[in-house]
């Protein structure tokens, strides 16, 4: 039986989650293209330079918070249901988290929209990072909090299912997909506490006038306590696809299940005590804590480098099973015409490039050169903007037929789409990185100044602008192609879906080949908490010791 026949309720929730996620992706992507055209000066007719910051806020919130959270909630629900082979324990809880996410999105969305539409007496022109003392309407903060709480409750569902499964299967190894979901969620619980405290204890009471002033440095620090691990909350679901689906699509098997578990454990341990690397250039934080954060960040390269090995090795194994030969000749036998495969493979390739530019970001002293320049969005459009987003689209192609019973439509369009994304992102991202080296700032409507002239280190500034504008446009066209395929499939009739079991082959090294301690998630969570305490307790204490609201700033409406 297919997933949608066996688990009709869960399939419906996954479809709904994907529906909201991809709608947010479409709107957020359109705004992204408008920004690419606006800031490069290619076309400034869509919005004024003041309203640019409203759509920039919407772009960040819709893509980094709404698209990601809904997609992940859906993917994880599928992953846990399928790999444990059981329905959700509580349908009411399921509808609750879905409702919270949706209401949170609407509240935040309306507040942001109010920045452009006079009829809505709200604004939230504070960007995705909402640094105080810039202040948004309370509805924006309530919306953000509901999205976080919704994601927590979605996670509760996975743990409840796991507990029931464990009671019935004592002594068995946790199925790999469920293991990945559980470790990712534990990391998420640990790290999202930061933003929850920031919003509920500081920003919300301050925006309601209950508290007069709050400390900009403390709230910033709480934001980045969450702001870096959140990128692993986006990345790890992509890894779930690369580890447990991509090898099978290649025609082979995952090389090592235990190593996959080691990778996820490392992410649980190291993701959170790294946030200060976003604050290398912040005054008020001693150098030593920045150094600790840097060391942890650099060691986070390890699980990603191990992943690069395993994913490529699994693909090679698959290619050789399909008859591929030669040192590189095997690459030709991979199913490059299958968009689920090519999307994930190209996403992995771009993530490698993004990883290297991330090392520059994380390098404490070289970071001075590129901090808050266009280099940074150049970097994260390779990571969340491709490693996550393109993988999500590829997983959409792969998963939607199984959760809907409908075969993918417009196959030709789907086949081309990942390549269009790859080309668009190559143009846009390489130019953004180089523009960052020239010192061109990020998050700016018009990075052209009378008093400043930017000199390209590699290539000319006008050439970079052109590549960004063209790249951004191609990306939006690619996005339209994806949405066309999904919409056409959605509107078509049920015609039987692929059985997932057909492609689900066991890894070469099984879970039972690895030590049991890998599955001891309690232990790993405890170690993760200790690392966070070591990295954060002293600097946080020094910030709150003189009063949690000092030195305080009153709100400033953007």
């Amino acid at each position: 039986m297919s997933f949608y026949e066996e688990y009709p309720f869960e399939a419906r929730i996954v479809r709904l989650s994907f529906g909201v996620a991809f709608a947010a992706l479409g709107v957020g992507g359109l705004l992204g293209m408008i920004q690419a055209l606006h800031r490069t000066g290619a076309f400034r007719g869509f919005v004024s330079s003041v309203d640019y910051y409203t759509i920039l806020t919407a772009h960040g919130v819709l893509l980094a918070l709404v698209f990601t959270t809904f997609f992940i909630a859906g993917l994880f629900l599928w992953g846990v249901t399928e790999s444990l082979g059981r329905e959700v324990t509580s349908r009411r809880l399921t509808w609750t988290w879905f409702g919270l996410l949706l209401v949170g999105t609407l509240l935040a969305g309306v507040a942001i929209l109010g920045g452009m539409i006079d009829a809505i007496p709200m604004q939230a022109d504070v960007l995705f990072t909402f640094y105080a003392p810039l202040q948004a309407h309370p509805a924006f903060y309530v919306g953000a909090a509901l999205i976080i709480v919704g994601s927590w409750l979605a996670g509760a569902n996975y743990f409840l299912s796991y507990r029931r499964w464990r009671a019935e299967n004592p002594g068995e190894r946790i199925p790999l997909r469920t293991f990945m979901v559980l470790t990712t969620m534990l990391m998420w619980y640990l790290s999202s506490i930061g933003v929850a405290v920031e919003v509920l204890a500081f920003l919300l009471p301050w925006s309601l006038g209950i508290v007069e002033a709050i400390d900009p440095l403390l709230t910033r620090t709480l934001f980045w306590y969450f702001g870096h691990p959140v990128v692993y909350f986006w990345l790890l679901p992509a890894y779930l696809g690369w580890y447990t689906i991509l090898p099978n699509l290649s025609g082979g098997r995952l090389v090592s299940d235990p190593l996959a578990r080691v990778v996820f454990v490392l992410f649980l341990l190291l993701s959170t005590p790294t946030g200060f690397h976003h604050q290398y250039l912040d005054p008020g934080i001693p150098e030593g804590f920045k150094f600790i954060a840097m060391t942890n960040t650099m060691f986070l390269l390890l699980p990603s480098l191990l992943t690069a090995f395993t994913v490529v090795a699994s693909m090679e194994h698959g290619a050789r099973q399909r008859g591929g030969t030669g040192r590189f000749g095997w690459l030709r036998t991979l199913p490059w015409d299958n968009p689920a495969f090519s999307g994930m493979a190209l996403a992995g390739l771009m993530f490698a490039a993004g990883g290297f530019s991330g090392m520059i970001n994380a390098g404490m002293n070289i970071n001075y050169l590129i901090h808050n320049t266009l280099w940074v969005p150049g970097h994260f459009h390779l990571t969340v903007g491709t490693a996550f987003a393109l993988t999500a689209m590829a997983l959409g192609y792969w998963l939607y037929p199984q959760i809907s019973g409908k075969q993918l439509r417009l196959r030709g369009v789907a086949t081309v789409q990942p390549y269009a994304w790859f080309v668009g992102m190559t143009l846009m991202s390489n130019a953004m990185h180089r523009a960052g080296l020239a010192g061109i700032p990020r998050r700016t409507a018009e990075p052209q100044y009378d008093q400043v002239s930017f000199e390209g280190v590699v290539g000319g500034v006008s050439e970079m602008r052109l590549q960004i504008a063209i790249g951004g446009t191609i990306l939006f066209v690619s996005l339209l192609m994806f949405l066309a395929v999904m919409t056409a499939t959605w509107l078509s009739g049920r015609d039987g879906a692929v059985l997932m079991k057909d492609v689900d082959r066991a890894p070469l090294s099984m879970a039972t080949d690895g030590p049991r301690v890998l599955d001891n998630v309690r232990l790993w969570t405890a170690v993760a908490v200790v690392l966070v305490v070591l990295a954060y307790s002293l600097p946080l204490w020094s910030m709150v010791a003189g009063g949690p609201f000092d030195p305080g700033s009153a709100p400033i409406i953007p």
């Binding site: 003392p133 150098e287 480098l305 400043v452 030195p551 953007p558």
Partner: protein, 174 residues
Amino acid sequence: MEVHRFESVWAVVSVVLIVAWIGTVTYGAIGPGIAMIDDSGGEVDADRIADEEYDQVDGFRAPGVYNGSGANDYEVYVVSYQFAFEPGSIDPIEVPAGSTVTFYLTSEDVVHGFELAGTNVNSMAIPGQIAKFTVEFDETGTYGIVCHEYCGAQHHNMAGQLRVVNASEFGGGT
């Protein structure tokens, strides 16, 4: 646990790469002496800065260029606000070539950024905090100053200039 041979080679190479990379940063701090912006600038009351009550605060002075302790040392106090740097935006910051300049940077309202375009002179300006960093200007030239942190509706108009002039042309600090 079964670990394939190539897998362990790859893991070892990865760890070496990571340690080497941390090593380069450590060398950068000890060798060329690239210090991080830290808490040495201290805290300041942003409201007093906004009210220009510089004589009421510790660790900060009225915006401008001051003579430092040594002959070639200078201190520059910069206030950032929506949407300018003082000094920097209306009048450029002027320092002589061959000087060592310590900047004291703060904000009187929201979070701003301070970047000399194309160099590694770069800092956040956070209300309540003073960012302190030292720069050596060996040659004459003009640098653009950019606010690189979104600070409100006219953020894209927040910029300034720093001019490194010949010692003979330098008007001197206060």
